[in-house]
Symmetry: C2
Subunit: 180 residues, 2 copies
């Protein structure tokens, strides 16, 4: 089963106008320095569960999540522009985010490798797959997708949440970086 | 000088339609659980520098930042809907984000208290104020503002970056929470 690897930066090309503007600006900037500073932003380790077109479960490892509103409770998640997850979200308007707990390193690797069969899941009331034994989960309904960049920002309302246990796993605890 | 306190949730009211929809959905959700799970998302500790209408510097403590694209390098920052910072960004299209370093707790508190005079700053080439002695900074040009929720997501391109030193300060290291 295909998997959205965070290391694969195969986003759709920006429009030529945006690319030209970007190149002028980036030429003035020290890219190594920009990368170093941006890698200081902390992220969590999440499994995003969506429904594929055939009704099957799809799982993706993701990390670019933040809250953007208390009332209503909104979050933004940036998904790779060419990911199956983004296609599923555009179609179904729904996704679940499982918060991995400390010690779930091998589960994270299984999802990256597309070995979904080894990942124990359960379902939200809306039928979305969430990881068993995680630090908790939220279910989100997408409101808007921003069509810029190699990842697309999905703004979504949190409509359900589930309990978990353990300390939430952070991306740097996995020894992984995503950013820069 | 006014200050944008992260503890003050005084966002503009959602439209009645959005509010009604939200209430129906939230009624089904355990709000305490939702809060607990959302508070597991890790955040950094940043000072956002903007130019006020009179040309003066404005500083705000902020935490809801994430990267959203590698090429072009984009970030999203969620600013309180009623903040002076958001008004400045809407007008000038520019802001700088200073990454606080470990040990800068009192500086963070000074910015929260509006005591900008005690905060040592320098300027980016575009004239935006950044904090001296931080872990680094980025300068951003806003591309789009999402007008939903009590915070507004500003999608922006990173156009410059500056070096710093020290370990980046995380919000939880300050003993503060913002989320839920």
């Amino acid at each position: 089963m295909p998997v959205d690897r965070p290391s694969a930066l195969t986003g759709t090309p920006a429009s030529s106008l945006v690319a030209a503007t970007m190149c002028r600006q980036v030429a003035l900037m020290d890219k190594k320095l920009k990368k170093k500073v941006l890698q200081q932003v902390p992220y969590g380790a999440y499994i995003v569960g969506t429904k594929a077109e055939d009704g099957g479960d799809h799982l993706m490892f993701g990390t670019w999540l933040m809250q953007t509103s208390f009332k209503p409770p909104l979050v933004a998640f940036a998904f790779s522009a060419d990911s199956r997850t983004l296609a599923n979200v555009r179609r179904s308007k729904a996704f679940a985010v499982s918060f991995l707990a400390d010690g779930m390193d091998s589960l994270a690797e299984s999802v990256l490798d597309g070995s979904f069969d080894t990942v124990k899941t359960e379902r939200t009331s809306a039928g979305l797959p969430v990881v068993r034994g995680g630090a908790g989960w939220i279910e989100c309904n997408s409101l808007e997708v921003l069509n810029r960049g190699d990842h697309r920002v999905v703004l979504a309302e949190v409509v359900d949440a589930g309990a978990g246990k353990g300390k939430p796993l952070r991306l740097d605890a996995l020894g992984w970086h995503y950013g820069g």
